[in-house]
């Protein structure tokens, strides 16, 4: 796997999630960050930090990205969301436009 096909998402606590660029681009916000013209640090290093998103939530978000790709390719499964996470996740999803 080539390095430029991956991106690193960093949570508020500093945890790093390295995932496929394709998956991360499910989020319109991340898509804009990674494709915007100019030399943003995000574009150059393929790293995005989310000081507002906790590790638990960011992990769930990453899972969702992959689930979304699978769903879009026709695999119809449910995406389970624990009730405890719903509100935090909703706000993160809203921020990430995903």
């Amino acid at each position: 796997m080539k390095k430029e096909d991956m991106v690193k998402l960093i949570s508020a606590e500093g945890f790093e999630f390295v995932i496929d660029k394709d998956a991360a681009m499910v989020s319109q916000t991340i898509y804009n960050m990674l494709t915007s013209p100019g030399s943003f640090a995000e574009t150059q290093h393929g790293e995005v930090t989310f000081p507002e998103i906790s590790t638990t939530i960011l992990e769930k978000i990453c899972k969702y990205f992959y689930w979304h790709l699978q769903f879009a390719s026709g695999k119809e499964t449910e995406f389970p969301i624990e009730p405890e996470l719903t509100l935090e996740l909703m706000m993160a999803a809203n921020y990430l436009h995903t």
Binding site: I61, Y64, H68, F79, I81, E82, P83, E84, T86, L87, L89, M90, M91, A93, N94, L96, H97, T98
Partner: protein, 596 residues
Amino acid sequence: MQSELVRLCIEAACENRESVEKWRRQRRSLERLPSYLADALLRRLIHRRLIFPSLLEVFKHSVEKIDLRGENSVDAEWMAYLGAFRYLRSLNVADCHKVTSSALWPITGMTSLKELDLSRCMKVTDAGIRHIISISTLEKLYVSETGLTTNGVTLISSLKNLSLLDLGGLPVTDQALSSLQVLTELQYLDIWGSEVSNKGAAVLRKFSKLSFLNLSWTNVTKLPNLPSLKCLHMSNCTISSLLEGDGGKPPLKKLIFSGAKFENEAEALMHIEMSFLSFLDASNSSLQRFCFLPNMEALKHLDLSSSIMGDDLVKHVACVGANLRNLNLSKTRVSSAGVGILAGHLPNLEILSLSYTPIDDVAVSYISMMPLLRAVDLSNTNVKGFIHQEGAEPDFFLSLKALESLNHLERLNLEQTHVRDAALKPLSSFQELRDLSLRSASLTDVSLHYLSSLPKLTNLSIHDAVLSNNGLYLFNPSATLKKMDLYGCWLLTEDAILSFCKKYPQTEVRHELVHNLPSNPNGSTSPSPSRLTSRTLLVNQKQGNISIPPSFVDQRLKYNREELLALQYSSLSLAIPLDRGSTTSQLLMNQSSYMS
């Protein structure tokens, strides 16, 4: 646009009481939640009937809009919580019958409220209005059919920012209306059924921004010129002159004259600028000559039902046919010849009603010349479905075949016509047909057989037909069929209907013998049974013709949907007291009247 994951989160958060408890325990307030997310979450909770007064507390710093319409449980306790909502812009508690004047006290002095709907809260009286007038930010106020008196109406004059005021069904007098003339921002005024007369109507001139006015069921006969008026309702009024006076002619878009009487129609309509008009409802009115119609070039919606319209006058309708989308000629004297005059002139017509007219099968072929038709109502006419041809071989042809050329036809009503089985044969090739209504004692299983091949059929209603158990058994509808109404098909037995329901669980069947609640595959998105009850109650009150036994509500709440469905197949079903069965079937009937 709400994102997909946000939607999933809201669904998960509102799954059941337990899931609500879980996220609620984590946080005492949803302060950080953007208001549109909070609004969406609250809306879902209300829809799923998971909201209760103390849960409202968490929303008090985030929600801007609440719609609690028709929620029977909303009372003073709810209002106490709602009063603490700092950013609330819009509150709708219409039809919440437990909302009283004193229950409104907590919302006194709210600082961001712009819209308040108290329609049909009958226990809200003048005392309640005294609380409301402290909310000086209000721009929209709906108090129709509440307990307000003339004095209460007068008090409203202190809400200077009002742009919309709905006083429908209240005893507004000329004097009360006159006291409201300080509301110069008013754009929308509804005073149907009030005591306002011509004297009061003269005051309307003071509302220089008025664009919507409803004067239905009043004694107003002369309306002065209102230069900004776009929409005017004067149903059931006696009209002698309209919009006469200086100032520019108003750019009227919508006129509702249903049931109105005109002393001299040419004079009454003389001052109206007709060229912008897109909606005219003159049903049941005393209009006689329709000479004004050709001036209404922009007309899209025309309702002339129960009017004097006939073949002799229909040429006026043809003149403005170019833009018409919706034409209602039911209960008029228009015959097949009249439809012939219209035929080539309605290139954009989508909806046509000719019910209760003397048309016959000749009209059907004319109708097929209106290429964009989506819905056609031919009920209660002389349509037979075939035309005899002297000397030809065969000596008749099926008239409904002509409709095959209508590629967009989705709805067809042939109730109470003279069609027999054979005449319905052409229907089997109608690719877009979704709704079909039939009602005739001469239809049999053969008709049902023709309908099996309709690929998009969603709603099928066959009343009073001679359908047999075997016919129903052999009926193989498209998977799209959601609702099948078989009332009055007396030959069917309960067993046959239940086995059909089992075979096609996605189809909701209605019949005198079916006592279960409608089967509903997507139960989570539909209102729960108890919510339906409140709605149907409401409908009943409006129609005022069906009396509900006092035990009705309790009986309905005794079982939830799952329990009812379980009962249906258990041996217990025989032991269900008779009154419950009848109330449920009554509910079903009410529902059908609500939906139709």
